[in-house]
Symmetry: C2
Subunit: 327 residues, 2 copies
């Protein structure tokens, strides 16, 4: 009915709809319930997860309006310990695909990137609670004398727990407990692609992308910190940690075609797409949905959870009061 | 009360709040009413404007829920003509500051950047209706052998109708009726800074910023298409159209300080800030509110009006039906 629906959507807009499939449903607000820790919303829980959590009333208070971590837990350690115990039980019961990928590596659970962490949780489990997670990605690029602007892509090892065998950005990794952004970028660049320290001096912070993806594993409100790294024409990345099958140098236009295929890891496409936009490959003149695409690379995850909190949940004298307008 | 309020806001976050002062009020949805043309929301109208429009019932249908351009007008020309007549009367009466800056240069009024234009309106008047507007900005930069990354800023002429005497990006201009994005970039680069054609070949499309500003003149849901232009160290911009008082080359850090001052045009700051983020000057390591700042450079203007439309307004058999849930 609307004017814009009269013209066909661009291929890039369709891609942006894919990696924002959850955002564009309006966060399925009738099905998914906010997850509160210490009065702060830190996530969203799907009905399939809620059904399991209800079996642990000493840890999770599940009401019709929301899920709350037991406010009697006193601190970070206590909250982390109780949640880990439940998750390990659910993992042993083989209830969730996501938990098959248990990593023994934790993400912090917090309201905001810079705020105090409320608990830690295995990174395989955060998608069950829709916990915001943060990663670091490096666009390794070359200004090739013949081919022009080129990017190195990696093919993920076929034994990886997530997205095995898919094409991906040259270097990427999650920000896990105890590691900083730049530190993670350096560590991953060395482990995944053997980038020597002297080249890492050329790493340029170049922004971030935020999107909200959903898969059968769970909910992914992801923010990626992006770095660009110009590489010498003769540099060839070599994997050092067994997580990459191969690397390939592609021209900017080949990259664009590659990220549009199902062979590319959906949740890594925003980073490459942002690079192609910042470097003049995707422009308002060659993509009809340019503005919508740029918007979908920066969805407001910063405010998505805090809005719920402010309007729907007030903590008074240590007692949680759930307003009736929680859907 | 929230965790994040315990830490002080960064200076850049405060700046982002300034250029998004209207977005962050939640679009003042109790005061401002949606403006519909042909059943599509294309703007928002403040109470002071509504009070005047009510005097022209043959042109504007003002109800408690919204303002609608008379749906009896048959086409682009008819709609543009009727609106222009009213605006010229209001201008003669000196009712609005905004109309003092009448430009005899029009912006297109449409639901979406790529959709068909519904009417045109003088660019001085679009802020009275909260019409989305689009501009083009060029970051003219130099990789200086001694000073490092530098940017050219212009000081606007003291006789300009808007933001006289303020500092601004090297080149910028509105996208007016009949002109394309790249065409406008070229035209403004030549008029404002005498950039020679051979240098314009190096213009790189680098993304866009979207924000929603309000001033005493009106409402500004702005989207700027951004270009980066690397300039030779010995190039000096020279104004050719009388709209610039002077140009100055600043180091990246001096630029950062400058955009934080009241001497810089508030609605141009997003473009320079985005440049400083993309080029590694502002990073997640040196700005505590980095993610919030990047989010506020890309607020969802693409969906802001269409959401209203879909949920609140349905056109049936040529008759407008206003749902009772219009606030």
């Amino acid at each position: 009915m609307s004017l814009e629906e009269k013209t066909e959507m661009s291929r890039l807009y369709k891609l942006a709809q894919k990696f924002n499939c959850f955002y564009l449903t309006g966060l399925k607000s009738t099905e998914c319930k906010p997850f509160f820790v210490e009065g702060y919303q830190v996530g969203l829980v799907r009905p399939d997860v809620m059904k399991q959590l209800i079996r642990y009333p000493e840890v999770f208070l599940v009401s019709s309006g929301c899920v709350e971590l037991n406010p009697a837990f006193r601190d970070y350690e206590e909250r982390s310990g109780h949640v880990e115990r439940v998750l390990k039980e659910l993992r042993a019961e083989n209830v969730f695909i996501a938990l098959k990928g248990w990593r023994d590596e934790c993400y912090e659970v917090k309201t905001d990137f810079t705020s105090k962490s409320l608990l830690k949780m295995d990174r395989a489990a955060t998608c069950l609670f829709g916990i915001r997670n943060y990663g670091v990605d490096i666009n390794g690029y070359v200004r090739h004398p013949v081919l022009g602007l080129c990017l190195w892509f990696q093919k993920r090892s076929s034994t990886k727990q997530t997205w095995p065998g898919k094409w991906d950005n040259m270097v990427g990794g999650g920000l896990s407990v105890g590691h900083g952004i730049l530190e993670t970028a350096h560590k991953e660049a060395m482990e995944e692609a053997s980038v020597p320290v002297e080249l890492l001096k050329n790493l340029i912070s170049a922004g971030c992308v935020s999107f909200f993806f959903e898969s059968d594993r769970g909910l992914f409100p992801n923010t990626e910190f992006i770095f660009d790294l110009e590489l010498p024409v003769d540099f060839v990345p070599v994997n050092a940690d067994g997580e990459v099958e191969t690397f390939e140098l592609l021209t900017a236009n080949q990259c664009l075609e590659k990220i549009l295929t199902a062979d590319f890891k959906t949740t890594s496409a925003p980073v490459a797409l942002d690079f192609l936009i910042r470097h003049g490959i995707v422009t308002p003149e060659n993509d009809n949905d340019y503005l919508k695409v740029v918007e979908l690379l920066h969805v407001p995850l910063q405010s998505i959870y805090s809005t719920y909190l402010r309007s729907m949940h007030i903590k008074e004298n240590g007692t949680s009061v759930h307003h009736s307008n929680i859907v």
